[in-house]
């Protein structure tokens, strides 16, 4: 793999990168339309693919939060055209690494020692990118370790990054950026949390402890004494990423087992811990040789406050949707219907969101759900496409918590679909004793 040539960090440099992408994307349109002159049947797929490739190339050079945004965009398959998604998914795996001497320097800054003095072995070439950091293999006392190192200056550049991405990302999604401030703040908060490795190691230990009893889920041991603001040391988990795993043609039984572990892991957190690992992209999971699900990244945790939890899960998991008055009340609490909406708007959004929640809650409606059936996802995607084209949805709606909750749940559904798993969906129920 080619080493990272440079990380543009100052705002001007980053702008330059985006401007370049903008120009390229513009160029792709010209290319598209000139080709179309000769071949009127040309579909937009190629254009989308060209655009996505250029955007991805640009984003992956930016690293840090921009890469994070790329990952996030790729989660929402229902919004983005397919070609974008395929390219953005790349960012979930490999991004080019930083130079070896800077790694050595990071270690000597935080531990006063070179990595070779801390570990018995340390591989200076990183094995994986972790979006705001990179992962190195090491060993100590016969134990194989994964050492995650954060890129310098990530925290500083997140705000300026997001400001950059904002107009760009929303032009891409065809939305206005004005009212997205509250959402961007939410994203910024989560991202800043993710740069706090002290917090991450604390949470990793807490969550892996709390989730210990879930069947077929494994966590690495974390080593706080070998970790710091910029470095996290944990056990190395052997395993395959989902794509590799699927390439080995695993049996339906095994796929169901992994799928069940995923389902239980997420629903246990949502309902028992009220805080959830909100980064369900395939890069954060490994399937171990003995057929278990390894979970390796707790950088992004979304807490679910009561004023979100109760109305949201009452909608998905009770008969509330049958009661129009109650449903609208919950929609109002979740700001899906707003104060100043008129009658027609209330009716419109009521019907639309009801349809959406019914779709979303489908897996919960029976004891088991087969995520391999295409019908469910086709409906989900076509609903997403329909909504994306509605002028009413140019405005953002819903409380900010939806960003990460949607991302988590769609991410979960996506992975279960990729696995083609059938899972029991009645393992962890919402606790809704406190009435709405």
């Amino acid at each position: 793999m080619k080493e990272q040539d440079s990380i543009p960090t100052s705002k001007t440099e980053r702008s330059a990168k985006f401007v370049k992408t903008g120009l390229k994307v513009g160029g792709n349109y010209i290319k598209h339309y000139s080709k179309k002159l000769f071949n009127p049947s040309l579909s937009k797929d190629e254009l989308n693919l060209d655009n996505a490739t250029d955007i991805y190339a640009s984003l992956s050079e930016l690293k840090g939060s921009a890469l994070k945004v790329a990952q996030m965009l790729s989660m929402d398959k229902n919004i983005l055209p397919k070609a974008y998604v395929d390219q953005f998914s790349l960012s979930q795996y490999n991004a080019p690494p930083l130079s070896g001497p800077l790694i050595v320097r990071t270690f000597s800054k935080y531990f006063g020692k070179a990595p070779s003095e801390i570990y018995d072995e340390f591989n200076i070439r990183s094995t994986n990118a972790a979006s705001i950091g990179q992962v190195h293999q090491a060993s100590l006392n016969g134990k194989k370790l994964a050492v995650k190192i954060q890129y310098p200056g990530v925290g500083d550049s997140i705000s300026s990054d997001l400001k950059m991405v904002k107009p760009f990302a929303f032009r891409l999604l065809g939305m206005s950026q004005k009212e997205l401030e509250v959402y961007m703040t939410e994203v910024e908060d989560r991202l800043l949390e993710e740069t706090d490795y002290d917090l991450e190691i604390k949470r990793s230990i807490e969550f892996s402890e709390a989730c210990r009893d879930i069947a077929n889920v494994v966590f690495p041991t974390y080593y706080p004494e070998l970790s710091s603001k910029r470095i996290i040391t944990m056990d190395w988990i052997e395993g395959q990423h989902m794509k590799e795993f699927m390439n080995t043609n695993p049996s339906q039984e095994l796929r169901n087992k992994i799928g069940q572990a995923l389902w239980d892991f997420y629903n246990f957190q949502q309902h028992e811990l009220r805080a959830v690992h909100a980064d369900p992209h395939p890069g954060n999971f490994l399937i171990t040789p003995d057929g278990k699900l390894g979970i390796i990244d707790f950088g992004c945790i979304k807490e679910l406050p009561d004023d979100f939890y109760y109305p949201f899960f009452s909608l998905t998991s009770t008969d509330m949707l049958k009661d129009k008055g109650m449903t609208i009340k919950a929609f109002r609490q979740l700001e899906m219907i707003r104060e100043n909406d008129d009658e027609a708007q209330i009716e419109f959004f009521y019907r639309l969101y009801k349809e959406m929640i019914e779709l979303f809650a489908q897996p919960y409606m029976s004891n088991t759900f087969d995520f391999s059936q295409a019908g469910f996802f086709d409906k989900l995607y076509s609903f997403g496409e329909k909504v994306a084209q509605m002028p009413e949805f140019k405005q953002a709606r819903g409380v900010k918590h939806f960003i990460y909750v949607n991302r988590t749940n769609f991410g979960l559904y996506n992975m279960l679909q990729n696995l083609g798993a059938e899972v029991r969906t009645d393992t962890w129920y919402p606790h809704l004793e406190v009435a709405v």
Binding site: D5, T9, L98, S99, P101, L102, A114, S116, I124, G153
Partner: protein, 221 residues
Amino acid sequence: MNKEMNTVEEIQNAYIDYVLTKGMKPASVYVFAKENNISEEDFYNLYSSFEGIEDSVWTGLCKRAMTEVQNQEIWEQYSSREKTLAFFYALIELLKSKRSFVLYSLKQSGQTIGTPSILKGVKILFEGFASGLIEQGVESGELANRRFLTSKYKDALWIQFGVILNFWVKDNSPGFEKTDEAIEKGINVTFDLFGKSPLDSLFDYGKFMMNNGGMKPNVKF
């Protein structure tokens, strides 16, 4: 020998102390020698001038940085690019301990075009070091061997030396973190330019077509 080394270092330290407390060079070697209870002859045996002392402080730092990185276990695994990066990180770390002197020395030497006289020794040392790394890089294929340019690569690295040094002088970020970034970027850019690029292929292709593609310059119309 040992005694002499001590004297070299003693004179260096006495000189640094003098210029940093008084903010200027001693009036003459005579004054300086007298204050430090050595004879002028002793002084001239070791240094020909005050500038010579400054030069030796600089080369001393530079040499130490080189030895330090070369003694790192990982050194042999590094590419030329990484070796260069490692050298600069080590140098900047060492300069930290002598920052006041560095600031003084660079300020005194003034804004001249080209290399300040106090860095002449460092320049020779560094260019030797850089040439070695470049040679390795060319041999391993990491760097492109360009007929007239390869011998200029070390000059480009010397320019980076100056840029990084100046950046560090003005850097006021905590722990000089920005300088780290300046090193990472600057050296990477420089080595990218040294590496094989599409232009090399284009040039090569052009040459080939000129010779074989019937595109010989033809002025007949």
